[in-house]
Structures are given as C-alpha cells and as structure tokens.
Symmetry: C5
Subunit: 177 residues, 5 copies
C-alpha cells in the first residue's frame, strides 16, 4: 500500500459526524504465531475514534467463519477482520482454502465485508521477516477495513493500481493508460 | 468476439423504449494492475444511454462476491461486472477459484447475472500485452453484459461459435454442421 | 446408450395423456465450439410433442448456473439441460468444476434436475471426432432428460449397466450377477 | 464390518414396535457397471420388515444429490442410500467430489442422513473383484443405514474400531487402550 | 497446548453459577481406529460438572456434518466436537476436505461452534504414536471446546502464540514483540 503508515491519518472529526459508533469485529487464532489482531486494533484506534472493537479468539482458522458470523449477527459488527496463519504443509493450504470459502459464505449470508488477513508461514525467508510481514499486513488491512466502512471512495481511487498488503506494492502494468 | 469494437453500436432509441433505467454494477480491486472497470464503463456508455452505473472497489478478488451482492440487493443493480487480476502463483489460483465460487453463489442467491472478468497475470507474454488483453476483455465482456440485459437473442445467435473475450475467437469446430 | 437413436420413439399419445405442457429449459454458451443445444432440441421434438422448450445462451460455463435457475424459477421449466465445452487447460478444468458445483446447487435450491452436458475439448482426437461426440452426447442426454421427466422407470431398467453418453457404453462388469 | 452378513439378523418384532413404516430411499445411476441398489434392497428386506423402499435411477453421480433431496422432501424418505461408481480418470474423481459435496449439502438442508456408497473403478484388481466389492459394500452400508435409522447405539459400540465397508476391517490401532 | 493436562482444572463452582446445563455434542465414526470421543468425554467430565454430553456415532467422516447439525438443532447442543481419522490415500484427503467444508457449513447454518478433531493416519510414525496423538488431540480440543463455551477470554490470552493440539506447541515467532 502506498500510504505512509506512520503519518497518514483520517480526520477524526469527520468520522464523528458520519458514524453512530460503528462496530469492527476482530477474530484471530491461538494457532497463529504472531498477534496480528493487536497491531490491527492499534492501527484502528490511531485512525478512528468512536468505533467499537469487539475481539474473539478461536483455536484454528477453520473456526474463524462462524466466529465472524456470530460477531456480525449476535454483536452487530459492521465489518470483521479475520486473522490466520496457515502453515507450510499441503494440509495447511487445504485448511486455509476451507476457511476462505467459509469466510466468503459468511459475507454472502450477512451482506457484510470480512477482511481476510492470512499470512502463510512460507511467505517469508525467516521468522523475523515473517513477524515484520504480519505486522505490516495487519496494519494495512486495518486501513482497508476502515476505508470499506467509512471511505469507500478512497479505494476506488486506488483501483487497478497493484496494491499489496505487507510487501511492496507492485504498481500498475507498464503499458496501462 | 467477432464484432468490431469501434464501430458496432446498439440503437440508443431502441433502448429508451425498452428500459426504465436499468442499473449495472461494477466492482473491481486495488490488487489488480490495470483499471479494467474504466474501460468497461466507457464501453457501456458508448453503447447504451439511460443506464445507471454504480461502481465499487474492494482490496482483493475474494472481496468481490459480497460487494456484488450488496450492489444487487442494496443498490438494485440488474447485472454486475466483477473485475479481478489473479497473480501467477498457486495461491493466486486458489484465491481466484474461491472468488469464482463466491460469485456463482451470489448469482444463485439473487437470480442476477454477474459477469466475471478475470485476467490472469500469466495469460500474456509481457506487461504490455497483458494491458492490451485487460482492455479487450473488459470491453468485450461489457458487451456481453449489455446483451444479457437488453438483447439476449444476440447471444443465442452466437451459441456454440467459439467466442473468446480478449484474444481471437477460436470459432466453431471443423466438422460442425 | 444402447438404444438406436434413429428408430426408438416415445409414444406421443401416451405423453399427451400424462402431461400438461411440461417445459424443458436449454442453456448453452457462446464459448462452446459446437451448437449442441440445436441437436438436443431436435431430438426432443422428434420424441415428445406438447413440450415447450425455452432456450437461453450465456457467454461461458460459469454463467450457466444462474441462467438455469432463472429458467426454472422465472420461466417455470421442469427440467433444464446445460451445455458447455471446457477447453484443455487447467484453468478450463477449474471453470468446469465451478460450473458443475453451481449446477448442483441450483438443483438443490429448486428440486429440479439439470442435465449437465459438458464435452471437454481433450476428449476426442480431432475436431471432427469432437463434433461427432458433441452431437451424440447432446442427443443421448436429451433422451435422459425426457426419461427423467416422463419415464423414470426406463432409467431404473438401465441401472448399473454402464451407460455412456457419446462414446460406446462400457456395459456391466464381468462377474455381475 | 465384523458381523457375519449371512447369519446376523435384526429382531423383526422389535422393529414393528418401534416404527410406523419408515421409508428408505435408494438412488443409483445408469453409469455404474454393477447394480448395487439391488443388493442393498435385498439386504434391507432380509433384516427389516415394515420398511418402505423407494428407488430412483439417474444418469450419473452428479444427478444423485437432487434425486436424494426429492426422495426426502417429496416422498418423505427418512434416510437415503446413494450409489455411484466413479471411473479411473481425474475427471471422474472430480465428478465424485462434486457429487459428494452435493450429498453433504442435501443432508444439511434436510437433516436426514444419506449414506454415500461409491465404488471407484480403480479400487479392485479386476472386474470380478470389483463386482465382489460392489456387493459387499452395498450390503454392509445397507446395515449402516438400518442402524442409523433404528439402532444408533449399535454404531456407537463400534466407534473407533476401524470398520471398513467391502474389504476387511482394519481394526483399532495397536496401542489403543 | 501449554497447560498441564493432568493438573489444570476449571473451578467447578464457577461453572455452576454460569450455566444452566449446557450441552456438548460428540460425534465420531466407526471408520476411525481410535476412540477419541471417550478421551474427550473423560476430559470434559474432569473439568466441568453440570454439562450434559450427547454422543452419536456415524460410519465415516462424510456422515459427521449432518450428525452435528442434528445434535445442535434436534438435541439443543451448544457446541459439538466432531472426531475423524482420515486414511493416507488421496481419496481419504478428499473425503476429509468434503467433511470439513460440511462442518463449516453446519456452523454457519446454526451459529454454533464445531471443533473438528481430525487425526490423519500419516501424521505419526507408527500406530503407537498415532494412538498417543489421538488421545492428546482429543483431550486438548476438549479444553478448547470448554473454553469456547465457558471461558472465551482464556483463548484470547493465547492468541497468536502458536498453540498446537497433540504435538508440542510451536510457540510465537522469534521476532514477535
């Protein structure tokens, strides 16, 4: 994502006029090896006041879908972020696929967005880089969640520009008009 | 598609008699590296007057299904075009598959067509050709969307004729009657 | 299928007593390279009078499910035939899988049968054989559709006998009682 | 399964007291190369009196799910057995997967068990063994269906004991308590 | 999981105040080669009084989803544990995938958690280790089920700490803050 994470801020007063305490759900797992939810919550609190955050933790990624659905339907969340960290083996990839299908289904059953924030253990060269990636992706997707909820027009300005969460943006194709 | 993109036009007056401001939804991603939605919107506007276009942008392709469903159910869209650009890796292919399953589900839950316009990064030999492909596919699928909405009989005339969107049509089998 | 396609006929008078104008839906694609729907419609008309056929054409196989659902729910079709022709590449196989899952879902949501008539481009040695296969499969599955609708007992007589649509039947296992 | 198929019998009088004519649905295909349904029906009739059996036959395994759902919802079946015989090719494995997903969905939509009885053509060394396997699996799963319907406690006695349908049971792990 | 299985106990009096006889469903298979349900039930009873346990056994893992749904909807279970033991072959992996998708669907249809406790036959080096793994995983997931039901805050304390059920916990990433 191209914005500077440390300096970019939403105008809090604008938010206050627009919202009547929106609720953001946060679900993560005990299986993951990094506390991405903490970073995301920190990022949200830095950028938006008057938003209520409700957090739940489940054992593994396949437990995420129903936890998200309960946050939306039983707690009234307007959007949910779902954090997971699939391992390197084929079985982990299959679990991630099943969880993703479940998360899509929840969205279709509730008409609410769920931002899936998965970091695969084989995405980075070592544990240190993986931890760095987890934090970056959690924070950048927190901004995506805020934009979906409060500033959808900001996303449209970035349409087709090759945004990535965590590693560097790849940018638009050479040859794009 | 065999029609000449630059000269073929729908009769706008015909449309005016037929429709009471149909709505076409457009959803794309910040992940994609080309703004296909812009081309599609341009193509639609060239061909149909009195159609309302509603556009949304989401982070990635797995966010497309619920965005499409919201356009149909909350904004009253009669058809939606969903644009995405999966990467080259296996994980990207899996995401595309999950998104496609979601898009099919949305259609079944709403009884509305969603035209999936995905360009895979490994479909072309370089970025320039990829950009060319994106524009062509976006424009040709815009025509498909218009035909599904206003001229379904035009599609039936092309049944079984090997139409492709982007690259050249492959045409009917040798040996077809 | 073991029956002689050119001479076997259903008794039209029997049909007239049994039905009050059943509707058969037909959906195919502009992507396919052979007009299987035409052959199927021809086969149905040769065998059953007083049946109404409603045809729709969509761009690709992933557009088939919702088109089938609309034929059932909006046009009152009692059964639908869905024709598609997946290409040779892995991506085509995945699309076919997604379409098939969608077609199964439509059936479960409507309690109506949909006969999936897919011919994969790599099923035959050349285009001529592929065209031959398309026609045979379309016609034989048209008979399956008719039997499901009007003569389910005929299918039970063929249970476990190794019927195939297009190529030769493989027949029952040696060693079957 | 460890029980002797030819001598083990349920007490018919017990059944008579417990049931008010339960209905068992049976669905199979013309694609299969062995009539497993016949064996299953024979096994059920030997073991349970006062049960009504309703049989349907469809072309292929992907047609099974809706046929099962119709038996449950339109014919009032309390449980269904679904018989299929996927071929050896990758495409056959995919069809079997799609059918299985459909069968699971039907169960979730109806809250009734469906016993999937699939024999893959590559499970046995020749056609004779395959026919033997088909009969064994059909009969043993018929007993499973009866137990699910009338004697669920018998299944719990076998929990975790490595039961197989067709080939020999593998038994509990060495080292189990 | 980091807790000592033999000494850690929930305060039973606390439970008594909090609950009005919660119900935990337990479903396992005759296919599995170890009775994990027994260990889980033992673990639950050691830790929670005044909880009602309802157990069902089905033939194979694909029968688990509907059995779980019936326990929730027909027996009023508040949470369910689903035990299965997929074999080593590709077909077993596919069955496990289908069962997992079904279990996720049940959760979304009921808004109740289902703890999937699957042990794959190829996870351990021999039958003895496999039996050890089955018991450990069953007991540790029993604790997860109890926590989800009575102590969700305990799970949040473990968020992102690399918990595993059975084998040793992998712990948080080096480099995590």
């Amino acid at each position: 994502m191209h914005i500077n994470l440390t300096t970019h801020k939403f105008n809090k007063d604008d938010e206050e006029n627009k919202i009547f305490m929106k609720k953001i759900g946060i679900v993560d797992t005990t299986f993951a090896r990094y506390d991405m939810a903490k970073d995301a919550i920190d990022e949200i609190k830095k950028r938006v006041s008057k938003v209520k955050i409700i957090r739940r933790t489940v054992p593994g990624i396949k437990d995420l879908p129903v936890a998200c659905k309960k946050l939306i339907e039983e707690e009234g969340c307007d959007i949910v972020m779902a954090f997971g960290m699939p391992g390197k083996e084929m079985i982990d990839k299959i679990c991630a696929h099943e969880a993703s299908m479940g998360l899509i289904l929840v969205q279709l059953l509730t008409n609410k967005h769920i931002i899936e924030v998965f970091v695969h253990e084989d995405e980075a060269k070592d544990e240190k880089e993986l931890a760095w990636l987890c934090e970056r992706r959690a924070r950048e997707h927190a901004i995506n969640a805020i934009n979906l909820l409060f500033h959808p027009e900001k996303l449209t300005k970035l349409a087709g520009t090759g945004q990535r969460q965590g590693f560097e943006d790849v940018g638009p194709l050479k040859g794009s008009k």
